[in-house]
Amino acid sequence: MKLNKLEKNIINGFSSLKIDSITPFKAMSEDLNIEQDELIEKIQKLKKMGIIKKISARIDYSKFGYSKNSLVAWDIKSSKVKKIARQIDRLSFVSHAYIRKTTPDFRYNFFTMIHARSKADLFDNINDLARLFCTTDFKQLDTLKELKKSAFFYNG
């Protein structure tokens, strides 16, 4: 779906939403040069259209003690994916899970982002998944440093 100019500006304009104002959308609407009511209506429309899934506060998880994070890639047969999807939905320590294309240099197709407060917890979480997936064949890619984490920008 192609967005019009105003919709594009709205999606990219959330950096001017003022969290520490009692009316946070006011400053954003002023930056976009529209009325606050119009902005709110347009965002609600984008939500209804399913382009915006939700408006959400981005949390700094490290402030909650989550300092040990790892991207773990597994070799999972496509016939097992459905069952596994149901199982990991209940495990809150897995935030992201994606099926990806493999390459000759990288044969792992199932990617899970795993979060923990300590090295021991991270080890336990990965072990839980290994038992659930009935495999010890995985690639553990521990996060050493966040180099960039930014809001999405829509170029159109």
């Binding site: 779906m1 520490d20 408006i55 981005r58 402030k63 991207l71 994606y98 960039k148 809001a151």
Partner: protein, 154 residues
Amino acid sequence: MAKGIEKKDLEILKSLHNDFPVLERPYKEIGERLNIPERYVFKRVKTFKRKNLIRGIGPNLNLERLCLKTTLIALKAPKKKFKELIKFINSYRSITHNYLRDNEFNIWFTLSYKERKEKNALLNKIKKIFNIQEILDLETIDRIKLKTNFFYET
């Protein structure tokens, strides 16, 4: 319970994270959800902001609806020109997440694109400028889960 965070604060954070109300007075709505006054929610939000617990508020988008595809890229960053390479990668707005990871492929970032040729052009540019031979391009086939509720669940 999250470490060192009070129950009420956690409830407010959860509400801000799960569904920030698109209304003139969003903190009034959150207050009604949690049965606390708007001014209390607002006071706590200001504290969260000051303590950088909240990085920002923005939309979670359905990229497929916007005709966008995504991929995960991994490469072996050379020690020489490491900083320049990171600066180059991070300068692209289509790259939103970039991490240093404990592996011979040490740089991992996500990239969104419309057409493959656009993605390939960027990857070839990186290869050429920074003299990198191997790049893993792991295109997204399917998203199975995206739920960042771990911070208040445990």
